[in-house]
Every structure is written in C-alpha cells, then in structure tokens.
C-alpha cells in the first residue's frame, strides 16, 4: 500500500488541503457540544436569553462552516482518489505494453487483467475509506482529549483510559480476525475455482460419472467457507457489544464523577453534557478508525500485486553497443541460437543456425514442442535468446528499436486474434493509410475477399472482441490479410493455415507465391502439404535442427522428415 503512495505526489497540494479541511471539520464537530455547554451554563442556568441567542447563532455559523469544509473536503478526496486510480491504471497499462512475452507469462494474462482492473478498484475504494474513516480518528481523538482537558482533568484522564482500553481490545481482536479474513478470501477463491471447474467440465464429469464426487467437493468448500465466516461473525458479535458497553460505561462514569465536580463547583452542569458528547464522538471515530485497519489487508494484497507489475524492468532493451553495420543479404540469420524458458532446465532451441533469403520461402516443420514457434517468437523479439545471434538485414535484432524491427515483419500468429471494431479497422492495424482497394487486394490473396464482399457492410462489417463471431478459418484468413496489408519485407506465418480446409490452403499458398515475390517468407506448419514446395525446409526435433533442404532432398536424407511424411501421406503419394 505504502509503495503506491508515490502516486499521490502530483496531488500534494490537494492532499494537504484535504488534511487541513479534515482537521477543521473535526474541530467544528467538537465545537458544537462546547457551544451547547455555553448555552446551558450561561443561558439556562443564569436565565440569560441573549446568551442563548448568541450561542445559537454561533452554533449555526459553525454548523455551516463544518458542513462546507466536510463537503469540500469530500470533493477533494474523491478527486484525488479518482485521479490516483486513473494514474495507477494508466501506469500499469503503459508498463504492460512494454512487457516481453517472458514478463507476460510470469504473471499470466488473466492475472494481469485482474491486477489492472479489480485490484486498482479495490485500492481506490480502500483509499476513500481510509480518508473518510481512518484519517479523522487521530484528529478527533487528539482534539477531543484537548477539549476534555480544558473542561476537567479528571474526566479527561478517564477518557484517555477508555481510549487505551478500547484500542487494546480492538488490537487484540484484530490480531485474531485479520488471519480469518485472509482465510475467507482464499476460501472464496476456492469456491470460485471449484465451481468453475464443475461448470466447464460438465461433459467430462458426467461421462466419468463423477457428479456426486464433484458435488461433495464443492459442498465441502461451501461448508468450509461458511464455518470460517461464522467464526469471524462470532468474534464481531462479542466485540461490538463490548465496545458499545465501554462507551456507555464511560458516559455513566462521566455523569457520576462529573456530577461530583459540579457539586464541588469545579465544573458547570453544561460541561458534563459537553464532555459526554466529546467522549461519544472521539470513541466512535476511534472504533471506526481501528475497524478500517481490519479491512486494510485485503487492499494491501491488491496493492502488492499492482506494485509487482509496476516494478518489472522491461526485459527487452535496445542495445546500442553492438555495431550497426547493415547488409542486405541474407535477410534473416540465426547464428548458433540457444533459448530456454525462465527456470526451465531443458532448452527449447539448441544451437540453431540457418539463413532466410529474399524472394524465398522457408518452412519449419517438426513435432509439437520441437521449438518451431519459438523461432518466430525470437525473430519478432517477443523473447531474447540466451546465446547466439539473430540478424535481420545484417543487423543484430537487439540493436533495432522494437518498433522498427517489428515494422519489417508481417506476422500471423498461431491464434488469429482480431480486435473489436470493423474488418477494415483490423486491416488498418497493418497499415494506417491502406485504401479500400489495397485491403480488397490483400483479402483476395488471403482467399477471404468474396467472404468480405458478401458480408453486410463489407469491409465495415463489425468485429466482436477477439473476432469470436467468425469461424477459425475466417479469422485466420482475416489475420493473414492484416499482415499482407502491411507489405512488409519479411512474412512470418506461425501455423496460420491450420484451420483452413485443404483446398483453400492450397489456393492461398498459390496466391501468395504469385503476388509476394520479393519478400522473405517463413512458414511454420504441421501439414506437409502446406509447405511441400518451399524453397527450403527446416526440420526441427527437440530444439535441434535435424535437416535442411527441399522436400525431395529431405525425403531421402532425413529420418524425422520421413516419419512425418509417412504419417501424413499415403504410400503411393510418397513414391510419386
């Protein structure tokens, strides 16, 4: 929580002002009973009507001032809270935009989303609660005590004793209850998880006849949660009446001993009434303030999670030390590249070297987990290799600004992701200034132009978040169009034809070949039929290159390639 305090810095004057107003507000609140005492002491007891009027008038003035400061203070607080919330959200979003894939994976997409949305809201709410309930407490207690002392020392000391008593009592309870609250949160998460599993897995659960076990499993989490909640409630059931009793006993003692002071003439009757009111106000704010402490841990967890995101140092940095001599040929070079994921022992890529040339198509094939996509990810610099060098146009990728590097590459990801908007707005992500004609041309290469032209609205047809309304094959072709609209010197297709039926796949590849003649093309594929006529095929197996060549060459020389081919083609086709 305290680490996020720096976000308050821009609003220093606001915050100072707010604190001053808060102080004035507590003074005003406490001054009213003092004025009442004056009315009683000087007006009623002395039967002085003008003193009553004067006291009343002052009360009116103070009431207006107090209300005004309180409302203005609240306005400042909400402004600061909303703006800080905005700033934290903005800072997180900007930071995440700088993340590498490694940074992203460390948190997980779902967790990053929760952190940027729910967690910030929680912190913002906690901030408001702290301002309205916790901060007035010290002002109130101190001013209340001072005023009480001004009336009578004995009673003031008694008030102090009660304060200490209540604080001790609540701290003891807080120690017990805070861990219970934390447990409650964990158990609620567990309910969420177990029920979600049950809802998503309903077919499997029924197929394996595990409905009863699953019901028992969720009921167990429900029961656990309920019993923890009851424990917490029971503690409060003791605490709240006890605190009330303490406050009431304080009043009783004040009447008794205050009466004595009045009797000996040390105090006036109206002062008892005032001091009772002081005691009530100070103790109430004190209890509220401490209660807030019990609810802070939850916001604290959120704050920690936010801070963890903000404190990530972007992993990918532009290295200016390496020399920048650039040559045109070959376009892409992998030179003894090694890569493993953070914390993993096995390498994903092991001493991988190859070259891609302009105007040529290179394909990468291999089993699941052989490291095919990693090559694309390294080329895009979603990750950095641990050793070896990757060069684009003769220059180490780490010397490019990320933007410049990625501008050179038209990338089609494995999972074709579209943004909400229109088809055209998605295509324009590839090129802001693309004309309708350019987009239609690109779409016809990607075999999706007829589909677009038949949509109501054509290029302006709406796209939902993620493009869920379109089928997998349609999404892939739209994503391919987006890359073609960019007209980049390098294309990377990461298993981007998998959802296409074989006919469309073939037509698309033919169109690519005809229309994209001077670019460097890298295709990662599962189906050999997609890449059979590539100029160069790289065969990966467990992170190592086990063969480079054309289809015919590899069929003769490469075992792994033969196995893949056998699993996909019939005998006749292989011998053809």
């Amino acid at each position: 929580m305290f680490k996020l305090v720096s976000f308050l810095k821009p609003y220093r004057t606001h915050v100072t002002m707010m604190l001053v107003l808060l102080f004035l507000q507590t003074l005003g609140t406490l001054y009213l009973p003092t004025l009442t005492a004056d009315i009683v002491n000087n007006g009623i007891v002395k039967e002085n009507l003008s003193a009553v009027w004067i006291g009343g008038a002052w009360m009116f003035v103070i009431a207006i001032l107090t209300a005004a400061t309180a409302i203005y203070g609240t306005w400042l607080a909400t402004k600061v809270s909303a703006n800080t919330g905005r700033d934290i959200r903005g800072a997180m979003f900007r930071r995440v935009q700088e993340f590498s894939n490694n940074d992203f994976n460390r948190f997980g997409t779902a967790s990053l989303i929760t952190r940027s949305t729910n967690d910030v809201t929680q912190v913002q709410q906690a901030f408001m609660i702290i301002i309205s309930m916790l901060l007035p407490a010290p002002f109130m207690t101190v001013s209340g005590l001072i005023l009480a002392f001004s009336k009578d020392r004995l009673l003031a000391l008694m008030l102090l004793a009660f304060m200490v008593g209540i604080i001790l009592m609540m701290v003891l309870v807080a120690k017990k209850i805070v861990p219970i609250f934390e447990r409650l949160q964990v158990q609620l998460d567990k309910i969420n998880r177990v029920v979600r599993e049950r809802l998503i897995g309903v077919r499997v659960i029924r197929a394996f006849n595990r409905t009863d076990t699953e019901e028992k499993r969720s009921n167990a989490t429900f029961e656990q949660y309920a019993s923890t909640a009851i424990t917490a409630n029971k503690i409060f059931a003791v605490l709240m009446p006890l605190v009330m009793l303490a406050m009431n006993l304080c009043t009783l003692l004040f009447v008794w001993f205050g009466g004595q002071q009045v009797a000996v003439g040390a105090m006036e009757i109206g002062d008892i009434m005032a001091i009772i009111e002081y005691a009530f106000l100070t103790l109430m704010y004190l209890v509220m303030g401490i209660a807030v402490f019990m609810f802070i841990p939850r916001a604290q967890t959120c704050a920690k999670r936010i801070h963890a995101v903000l404190s990530v140092d972007p992993e990918l940095q532009v290295n200016t030390k390496v020399s920048k001599t650039a040559t045109e040929e070959p376009t892409v070079v992998f030179d003894h590249v090694n890569f493993h994921y953070e914390g993993a022992q096995e390498s994903v890529l092991d001493d991988v070297s190859f070259q891609l040339h302009r105007g040529q198509t290179t394909a990468i094939v291999g089993s699941t987990g052989s490291g095919k996509s990693t090559i694309a990810n390294l080329l895009m610099r979603f990750y950095d290799a641990q050793s070896g060098q990757i060069k684009v146009a003769g220059q180490d990728v780490r010397t490019y600004s990320l933007m410049k590097l990625r501008n050179k590459i038209g990338y089609v990801p494995q999972k074709a992701f579209l943004f909400s908007g229109t088809i055209a707005s998605n295509f324009r992500h590839g090129n802001e200034n693309a004309l309708e004609r350019d987009m239609h041309d690109a779409a016809s290469i990607a075999q999706v132009d007829d589909f677009i032209r038949n949509l109501p609205g054509g290029l302006d047809a709406p796209v939902d978040k993620g493009g869920v309304k379109y089928s997998g094959g349609q999404r892939q072709r739209l994503a391919i169009t987006r890359a073609i609209v960019k007209h980049p010197p390098i294309y990377v297709f990461d298993d981007s034809f998998s959802a296409l039926d074989f006919k469309t796949d073939a037509k698309l590849r033919l169109a690519l070949k005809k229309n994209i003649t001077d670019a460097t093309v890298l295709i990662i594929a599962q189906r050999l039929s997609s890449i059979i006529d590539a100029d160069q095929i790289i065969v990966l197996d467990e992170g190592k290159i086990v063969g480079i060549g054309t289809h015919a060459e590899l069929l003769r020389s490469c075992d792994v390639y033969q196995q893949i081919a056998k699993s996909q083609f019939s005998e006749e086709e292989l011998t053809q």
Binding site: L32, I39, I44, V45, V52, G55, G56, M59, A63, T66, A67, W75, A82, N83, R89, F93, Q97, T117, M128, S132, R196, L199, I200, G201, R206, F208, T211, D212, N219, F222, A226, A229, N233, K234, F236, A237, P241, L245, L249, V255, A263, M273, F280, Q345, E346, S367, T368, M380, P413, F419, K465, G466, R482, F502, S529, V560, S567, F569, E573, Q576
Partner: protein
C-alpha cells in the same frame, strides 16, 4: 424487476429462511430488548443530570454542598448500569445467533444449487455463460449473506429506534419533537434524492469501468498482435481516453456516496440548534428540565444515523432481492428426465450400437438430425468425418445421453439407452474430447479421474501408453505436480495426451475419440494410435477426426454434412464411390493444384 416479482421472490426467500424461524424470532426478541434498553438510557441520563442540577441548586440555596453518593444518585446509576449491561448482553445474544443465520441460509442455497447443477440438462450449460452461473453461486449469494447479516438488523433496529425515540421525545416535549420530526423528514428527502443520484452515477461509473476493463482485456489477450503490429501507442491512447472517462464518473459516484453524510449531519445539526434554542427557552420558562434537553439531544443523535442507513439499506435490500431472483432462476430451470430404474446394469458388453430413426435438434424448432440410422457391429472401429457443424459431436452427445432424442431410439446390445440409468450408460464409455478438461489437482489425480482406486503403477502404465510418461517425469514433482490455472505447465497437446491417459486407465467398453489428437503432432498421434489400437482390440470405438490419414483403416466411415449421414462405407468403397468423401480425401492429400 417488477413489483410482483419482488414480492414473490421476497416471500419465497423468507419461506426458505423459515428453517431458522426460532433463531430469527429470538434475534427479533433480543434486538427489541437491546434497542429498548438503548432507548431508555438517554432518559435515565437526563434524570441523573436533573438530580445533579436540582441537588446543586438546592444545596446552594441551603448553603451546603451536594454530595454524589449511593443515597442521592445510587438508584439512577444502578438502573443505568443495568440498562447498559442488558443492552450489551442482548445485543451479543442476537449478534451471535445472527452470526450463523445468514451463513447457514447461503450455505443451504449453495448446496441446493450444487445438487441442482447435477440434474440440469446440458442445454442449460449451453445457454448460460460460465461466468454468469458462477457469479450467481458466489457474488450473488455473498450479497445475500451480507444483506441478511447487516441489512436486516439495521432495518429492524432503525425502525424501532426511530419510532421509540419519537415516542419518548413526544413525552418530553411535543413541540420540540415536531422540530426534530421536521429535520428528520428533510433528511429522509435528501437521502432519497441523493441515493437515487448515487445509483445513477454508479450505473454510469460501472459502464465506464466495464468499457475500460473490456479494453484492457482485449489489449492483454491480443498482446502478441499488439506487439507484432506496433499498436502499443494506439492501445495506450484508447486506454487513456477510457481511463479519463472512468476517473470523471468515479469522482462523481464517490462524491455522491460520501457527501451525503456531512449533508445529512448538517440538517441534523440544524434541528439540534433549533431544539437547543427553543429548549433553552422552555427550560428557563420552566416547562422542561435541563435533563430533558440532554435526553432530547441524545435522541436526535440516535435517530439521525438510522435515517441515512435506512435509505441505503433499502437500496441494498432491493439488490439482494434481485440476487435472490437470479439464484432462484437456476433452481427453477427445467431438469433432466429422471432415470428409469427398470433395467439392470449391463455387464457383458459386446458393443453393438444402433441408431434407429433418430431425430434431434438442439433447438427443437430447428431440427439438425432427421431420421438417422446407423448400425455399428460389436467390436468395430467407426470413423465419423465431415465439415465443422456437420453434427459429428452431436452423435456422441446423443449416444452418451447428454441430450434427449426428439424421435427414434438408440440401443446398445439391443437395450434402449433411455431405459438405462445414466450413470450405468456412461460408465460403458471412455471419452476423449477436443477440449481438454483437467481439474485443479495432481497429475496422478487427473489421470485416475475415471478410476479413483487405481494404483500408481496403473497410472504410470496409462501415462506410458499415452506417450506422456516422459513429460511427466520432467515435471518438478512428477505425478504429484499440481495442475493449477495460474501457471501453465502443459501445452494443449500435452493436456490432450493426459486426457488420453485418463481414458486408457478407465478401461471402457466403448471408446470415443472426438478430435482427441487435434493438437498433437502427427508423429505422436501415430504412436498413440498404436496404443489405442491395442487397447481397442475387440471393442467398439468411435473416432471423430479431421485428419483423414488416421481413419483410413476404420471398419466403417460415416460421412456427415448438415446433420445427416450422406455416405457410409469403408475407405476403399467410399473412394471408389467418388462422392463427398473422395473429394475431401483428395483435397487433403493433393500436393499440386494447378
């Protein structure tokens, strides 16, 4: 929500709550006593102050000193002490009973939904989003518990306090009570107006938050595309715009929420001041005493807070009723037909599956399958092929009786599946789906899901057969590694292998593979195929696949399109028929299209 549904839902809710009626009655009784005690206290303090002031005045007149002692103040003090103690005690009683009432109620509702989930047909799951059902089980019930726990007590005590305090004030001074009433009414009007505004601001705030969250979700989910197309600046500027809008709406909403307190307090203070002035005159003219004024002040304080609370509690209650309604919606959803208990469990399964004149549609008005007839010989391998949406998975869903037929029947070994117990029927099948489902537990637990009593050796053998044993061995804790949603230790392909291991271990009579190896590479797929083939020796199996290479050796291939079976036969016979299948097959293996 209309008024009548609010009434109906509330009535139903209270009926459900009645299993704790004695507790509730006790709570009401105890709360009444406790509130009554706190109402009596100001009167008692007022009279104590009167004792002191008259005592002192008399003493001054008699030129003696007034002494506070058991004789002069004892009775008042003791009664006051007793009242305070009783109030605390009864508050404690009611709170400690309430501590479990709300939780027991939500627990009961949660359990009821939990068992309901098992009886709901799959249509229900198709029609509702997971997040929606989930939020009903968690946050809606949470809201109900909170409202029950605090809202009802507040509503009840606030009402008693307001009525009681006004009655007592009226006894002291009808005139001053009218002033207090006026200020309270003003507060109520202000609270109602502001709380309406607050609701509006909150709705706007919620909308802005929703838009921002959606944008964040989209940007983070599409992160790779954002990076690849250098869209970061674009994303940031959209985010900034939405973020700014949210800051504005949330400042408004929070201001409305928090500004109400000083506002109401101000109105209360105004009433207090008028009472102070008017009361002072009354005391001076001798109609009331100083102690009365003190009592009046305390009553005004006591009622002003419940008034603000009431306005918000009523809002919260409305929200809770809406939540209850959403919970009851699940309870009222149509259930599956009850099991027919007449047919005993099949033991010696041959695996002869027959579809006779089957009619079906997910939406009865939009029939998908019309008059489907399939005859699968015991022990044969059946492949189902066809484009997406052709109805391949539907065949499986019907066979496992996830959905009810709209006509015709399906038999296994000549027994109509409708006459079997669902659990008996499903225990015949082993199913591997395209969508892998693993639960939060260890690798071993996940593999033995269909056979919880399996030994670790059996689990390891299944893993070996599914070609996943090596991968499991590289995990930090091997078979005891916990699979959790947070960290993805397995790829989709590996998860598929794990579910295959699960099915191998469950040793089913009939095997169903629904695109089971779609994310596994072809080499691994072949290896698994071998394991499967040996497993399925002599047992009936259904294989849905889009890679035709894997199903060439099937005894029977069903070609589906638009919900019907358009061709049936073996690979060779279908190829020579030169129809849909032949076309599909050639397109997959055509190496050159010119």
């Amino acid at each position: 929500m209309t008024k009548s549904t609010i009434v109906a839902t509330s009535r139903r809710f209270f009926k459900d709550l009645m299993f704790q009626k004695w507790q509730l009655l006790a709570v009401i009784a105890f709360l009444t006593i406790a509130t009554g005690c706190s109402l009596a206290a100001p009167m008692l303090i007022g009279s104590a102050i009167d004792h002191i002031s008259t005592g002192v005045a008399n003493a001054v007149a008699a030129k003696t000193t007034f002494v506070i002692s058991i004789h002069t103040m004892g009775t008042v003090a003791l009664v006051l002490l007793a009242v305070y103690l009783l109030s605390a005690l009864f508050n404690y009683f009611s709170q400690s009973i309430l501590a479990s009432v709300a939780q027991k109620m939500t627990l009961m509702l949660r359990k009821r939904i939990s068992s309901k989930l098992n009886r709901l047909p799959l249509e229900f799951y198709d029609q509702h989003q997971t997040g929606d059902i989930l939020s009903r089980v968690t946050s809606d019930l949470e809201k109900i518990a909170d409202t029950l726990q605090e809202g009802l007590v507040q509503l009840f005590t606030a009402t008693i306090t307001i009525i009681g305090a006004f009655a007592l004030m009226f006894m002291i001074s009808p005139m001053l009570t009218l002033i207090a009433l006026f200020s309270i009414f003003t507060s109520i009007i202000i609270a109602t107006i502001v709380s309406e505004k607050t609701n509006r601001y909150y709705a706007a705030n919620q909308k802005a938050l929703g838009q921002l969250n959606a944008n964040i979700e989209e940007a983070f989910t599409g992160n790779q595309v954002v990076m690849a197309f250098n869209l970061q600046n674009k994303m940031v500027s959209t985010n900034d715009r939405l973020n700014e809008k949210l800051a504005q709406t949330s400042a408004k909403a929070e201001f409305a929420t928090y500004a109400i307190n000083p506002l109401i307090r101000f109105v209360g203070t105004l009433g207090y001041i008028v009472i102070a002035i008017r009361g002072a005159f009354s005391v001076i003219s001798g109609t009331i005493t100083i102690g009365d004024i003190q009592a009046l002040f305390q009553y005004v304080n006591q009622v002003s807070e419940p008034v603000t609370e009431l306005a918000y509690t009523l809002n919260a209650l409305q929200g809770a009723v809406a939540s209850a309604e959403r919970v009851y919606e699940i309870e009222d959803s149509l259930e599956e037909l009850p099991d027919d208990q007449t047919v005993p469990k099949l033991t010696q399964i041959r695996g002869h599956v027959n579809f006779e004149h089957v009619h079906f549609g997910y939406d009865p008005d939009l029939p998908l399958m019309q008059d489907i007839n399939i005859n699968v010989k015991a022990g044969s391998k059946v492949a189902v092929v066809g484009p997406t949406g052709a109805g391949k998975t539907t065949l499986i869903n019907l066979m496992m009786r996830f959905y009810e037929l709209q006509g015709g029947k399906i038999t296994i070994d000549d027994v109509d599946i409708k006459t079997m117990k669902r659990s008996d029927l499903r225990s015949l099948f082993g199913m591997v789906l395209q969508d892998t489902w693993l639960f939060n537990g260890t690798v071993a637990d996940n593999i033995s899901y269909g056979r919880p009593d399996a030994t670790i050796e059996q689990i390891q053998d299944a893993a070996k057969a599914a070609r996943i044993a090596h991968m499991i061995d590289t995990l930090p804790e091997g078979y005891n590694t916990v699979l959790s949603g947070e960290q993805e230790v397995m790829s989709i392909g590996q998860k598929q292998l794990l579910t295959i291991a699960r099915t191998i271990l469950s040793d089913p009579s009939i095997l169903i593979l629904d695109e089971a190896t779609s994310s596994v590479d072809t080499r691994t797929e072949e290896a698994i195929q071998q394991a499967m083939d040996s497993l399925m020796q002599g047992r009936t199996s259904f294989v849905i696949a889009h890679r035709l290479s894997t199903i060439k050796d099937a005894d029977q291939i069903l070609v589906m399109n638009h919900g019907t079976i358009i061709e049936q036969g073996t690979h060779e016979s279908l190829l020579s028929a030169n129809g849909f299948y032949a076309d599909l097959y050639r397109s997959q293996f055509a190496t050159k299209i010119n």
